[in-house]
């Protein structure tokens, strides 16, 4: 397991339909990253885990900007580069690029 502070985190909500649609794309990106010897993606559900929600809030400044003003899911956050992607239109290519940051 990758250490906290050095991960690419996928924040998602169990009842968020866009998260469900993005999930297979995140899985594909994860598989590709691992296949190429990189670190995978850490998935954290935020509506049913206060611990995960707290972590997401701690990255709030960057995530809010990426999510158009308020915290939102689905969102990906690179703990190393402190860069984020947010929303339903995230592509696999964008995720791979974010992982390489």
């Amino acid at each position: 397991m990758t250490d906290q502070g050095n991960r690419l985190v996928f924040f998602w909500g169990r009842e968020c339909p866009h998260c469900a649609k993005l999930h297979p794309i995140v899985n594909e990106a994860h598989a590709e990253l691992v296949k190429n010897g990189g670190q995978g993606i850490t998935e954290l559900e935020v509506w049913h885990s206060e611990e995960n929600a707290k972590l997401m809030r701690s990255y709030g400044e960057v995530l809010k900007k990426a999510c158009g003003g308020s915290l939102g899911v689905p969102a990906l956050y690179n703990e190393r580069s402190k860069k984020a992607l947010c929303g339903m239109r995230i592509t696999k290519e964008q995720i791979i690029d974010l992982a390489k940051e």
Partner: protein, 141 residues
Amino acid sequence: MAVKKLWRCNVCNDIHYGIKGPEICPTCGAKNAFTLIDYPESKKVIIDRGDRLDQVDQLLEVWEKFAEGKPFKLNPDTEFVKTLARGELENQKNHGLKYCPCRITTGDLEEDLNLICPCNFFIQPVYKETGECWCGLFVKR
């Protein structure tokens, strides 16, 4: 920013929360009838017998009515809409309010009030850019 206060219609006891009371009471039609009250009084005046909106079908009906005559409509994908309704009811059960399942609360109640569905999506950039609210529940006609 002006502070919102509580107002009570002295004819029918409607309660309003806002910068000022409505000029015409939406319930009884009385003019200039709203007077400033405090929170304890408002709690006593509001009788807990309003409709419970805790079923998926009820929410769908409320949302349909909300969108009536507006430049946006409910997303035509009913299964998608029902998933969101279930998510909001789950959030109501676990977090106290019908927060958008595609957002996440900050822990600051005042800030989180903006995440109750239907939210203020028509003033948000994402609606202007994509024609949909953040979660896709409402789409431009």
